[in-house]
């Protein structure tokens, strides 16, 4: 890790040769692409934990398949697989298979998550409090709730042994993971990185957002004038990133290119963005600078767009300011209207949604949008539509203030 390899000049282009996704819309590229394109929503009553005392009772739960894909995991590991590991594994296997990579002990993994295996932590606490002398499964829970336990499942399943970096920058974690992975390849540290993000629904986090009255008691409508909160979701997305040279050498199918990334910090408040969206503005501006593009080159913005009054107004102001005259014709939407807020998984899943949109040449609509917030000087995508997309921008902003922006480009063979 240090001293690092010399930085190549110019930096290599970084392409995506594998993508895997699982959300409330379903498992895999096809179901999610169909869902995002049509604007289907995945919200339903929560079944994973008790919500009778909560204000809100809906979320975008994932239906896990009855059988997990065949990997190198042992029967024992599969029997002990927790929900977070299962989500991450499903996305990982899809991305891995698509990439065509071989097992290796040198491919690093960079992951984003906010709460790892939180449901196991909850089980640990419940048992420790209610039955303090009952130890059954407690050692397993004490280990498996930690985020690096989920990463080890992926390492063992795919035959990997490289270093794992786990980033926990709240809701920007997934985007930061992909951005830092991009930095690793671009900076010459490695030729390939496996990266993405995940998070699982848990009572702790659900109750947390409900306590803040951040959850929508009606319908999640990002950028709607009458929006009243976010909806929770769960899922994972993984990407195989490599240098263009490496991909070409293998004749790999290229799904897209990451051309820009920036991260900034909003120090305004632990949970509230600066009303002018200063850090978001800087993240978008700096990401464009690294990508050597201007707002005029961006064809679509996948907004952080949680649906909370404060986030969306700050983000709208930031997009207006960053885009300038381009704002009037720049399509913007938030896929959180379809699958909810995936927290540490959000940035990764939304990156894959952008890849899908560029590949299919369509815009992901928010069908629930009724009255666009007049703050938005940009058109909001409210119905399915085709579009010519070459370069797209994806925003992710987190509790604590870390903001991240990724810029992707369509791959034209």
């Amino acid at each position: 890790m240090f001293p690092p390899r010399p930085q190549p000049s110019p930096p290599p282009r970084v392409v995506i040769t594998g993508a895997g996704i699982i959300t409330g819309l379903g498992a895999g590229w096809k179901k999610n692409a169909e869902g995002f394109r049509s604007g289907r929503t995945a919200f339903r009553p929560v079944t994973l934990f008790e919500t009778s005392h909560q204000r809100v009772k809906l979320a975008a739960e994932v239906d896990l398949p009855k059988e997990m894909p065949r990997t190198s995991l042992s029967v024992r590991q599969l029997a002990r697989l927790d929900r977070a590991s299962a989500l991450l594994l499903l996305a990982s296997v899809e991305a891995w298979q698509q990439s065509g990579w071989e097992p290796s002990d040198s491919i690093p993994m960079v992951l984003g998550t906010t709460s790892g295996g939180m449901p196991l932590g909850e089980e640990y606490v419940r048992q420790a409090v209610k039955h303090p002398h009952r130890h059954r499964r407690q050692p397993t829970r004490a280990f498996q709730y930690q985020a690096h336990s989920q990463s080890q499942i992926v390492l063992d399943a795919l035959g990997l042994g490289g270093p794992v970096t786990i980033i926990s920058n709240a809701c920007a974690s997934g985007a930061c993971a992909i951005g830092e992975a991009w930095n690793l390849v671009r900076g010459g540290a490695v030729d390939r990185v496996f990266t993405g993000g995940y998070d699982v629904l848990s009572q702790f986090v659900f109750a947390g957002f409900d306590s803040l009255q951040a959850l929508s008691p009606t319908t999640c409508r990002p950028f709607d004038k009458n929006r009243d909160g976010l909806a929770m979701g769960e899922g994972a997305a993984m990407l195989a990133l490599e240098t263009l040279e490496s991909a070409r050498k293998r004749n790999a199918e290229i799904l897209g290119e990451i051309i820009g990334y920036a991260t900034t910090i909003d120090r305004h408040h632990l949970t509230q963005p600066h009303p002018e969206g200063n850090a978001a503005f800087t993240a978008m501006t700096e990401a464009c600078a690294t990508a050597k593009v201007s707002p005029a080159d961006i064809d679509y913005v996948n907004a952080h767009g949680t649906g909370t009054p404060l986030n969306d107004s700050a983000e709208a102001v930031a997009i207006n300011r960053w885009a300038g005259t381009r704002a009037a014709t720049l399509p913007v939407s938030s896929t959180k209207a379809n699958i909810g807020h995936l927290l540490g998984g959000a940035g990764a899943v939304e990156t894959v949604a952008c890849l899908m949109a560029m590949q299919g040449q369509w815009l992901p609509p928010e069908l629930a949008l009724e009255t666009p917030d007049p703050l938005c000087q940009f058109p909001l995508v409210s119905k399915p539509q085709e579009a010519s997309l070459t370069t797209v921008l994806s925003n992710s902003f987190g509790f604590g203030g870390v903001n991240a922006t990724l810029i992707l480009r369509r791959w034209a063979a």
Binding site: M1, F143, L270
Partner: protein, 347 residues
């Protein structure tokens, strides 16, 4: 590009400074153990707690830190100590890399206790403080000039990854100073989880911070020599093989100081003990004196290594970071200008 250490800081059961940490370590006598109540049990768990600071830290007056958890206080104190010799300059960009394993467990338990009682009345003041990113956010607000901030999670070896991230941020010119902080706080839940894995463990809390810079003129006489490639445990690397590979990569001379991660558990310590069995040079084992502080322990190991080189007690010092359940790695700090051992440079 050389990466220099410009300062270090620590909060530990020994006190609220790196000097306290070194003084108690030099005495070599394990700190007294205190009881930690566990609900439903007559026999308490065991801990070595951070003492109350002699004076209330001035940073607690900052609006963002008033409601924050102990882990943030420890991280803030260690960070401010690490950068105390850097001339105040508002244009200087300070990057923050906060490394955690258990994180904000005190507020997490308090909030979940309320959720279990009645989620409808769980406090909205507590929940934000449970987020892993909260300490980094508070620190960024405190320092005011941190353009780049991140939180890394993992076992204690993650602290070395934090140092590598800091070195990369300096190399890429994202920041002028990169402060890497490892911190943990104590509560009975974290102690009981540790107890399930090792009954003899004595939990502790605190923080350690190492400030890095690309500018040699602000160095405290120490530079980063080597960070080995982390070996992730699993099908490719058993903990024993990983520890041995790291030890081989770190090398070391007889006059180097080894800051190891050994405690008092033959089972947990086994792989690291075996890897360093042939070591004949001086060594210290801070965990035996201060307790199991997880990420804080890894940070203390690095702080102690830096201090040994800064005070010219050793020309080079090694921190062996054999994480408990994720990965193994190691760091070598050396006197500024010391030649790198090319055999040890990671390709």
């Amino acid at each position: 590009m050389s990466i220099f250490v410009t300062g270090y800081g620590a909060v530990s059961p020994a006190g609220w400074s790196a000097a306290d940490l070194q003084k108690v370590l030099a005495a070599g006598i394990p700190l007294p153990v205190q009881p930690l109540d566990r609900p439903g049990w007559e026999k308490p768990l065991r801990m070595r707690a951070v003492p109350v600071p002699p004076d209330k830290p001035a940073f607690l007056a900052h609006p963002r830190l008033r409601r924050s958890s102990a882990i943030t206080h420890y991280a803030a104190a260690a960070t401010l100590e690490a950068i105390k010799n850097i001339p105040p300059d508002t244009s200087r960009r300070i990057g923050l890399i906060v490394c955690l394993q258990s994180g904000c467990v005190q507020y997490t338990y308090r909030f979940f206790e309320e959720v279990l009682t009645n989620p409808a009345t769980a406090s909205p003041l507590l929940f934000p403080e449970t987020v892993f990113a909260a300490p980094a956010s508070h620190l960024a607000a405190l320092l005011e000039n941190s353009p780049r901030v991140t939180t890394l999670m993992g076992d204690p070896a993650t602290f070395a990854q934090g140092l590598a991230v800091g070195a990369d941020w300096l190399r890429q010119n994202y920041v002028d100073i990169a402060v890497v902080v490892g911190a943990e706080e104590i509560n009975w839940l974290r102690a009981s989880a540790l107890w399930h894995l090792e009954h003899a463990a004595i939990i502790s809390g605190g923080a350690g911070a190492v400030a890095l810079s690309g500018d040699g003129s602000s160095s405290c006489g120490v530079e980063l020599g080597l960070i080995t490639q982390p070996r992730s445990y699993g099908a490719h690397w058993s903990r024993g093989r990983a520890a041995a590979a790291v030890r081989a990569e770190l090398g070391g001379r007889d006059d180097d100081l080894l800051c190891d991660g050994l405690g008092n558990s033959p089972r947990v310590d086994g792989p690291e003990t075996a890897a360093w069995r042939d070591w004949t040079g001086p060594r210290v084992s801070p965990k035996r004196i201060f307790g199991e502080g997880l990420m804080a322990t890894a940070a203390w190991q690095c702080v102690i290594a830096c201090a040994a080189v800064a005070k010219r007690e050793h020309s080079s010092a090694i921190a062996s970071l054999v994480g408990c359940n994720q990965q193994a790695t190691g760091v070598r700090f050396q006197a500024c200008g010391a030649p790198n051992d090319s055999r040890n440079i990671c390709a």
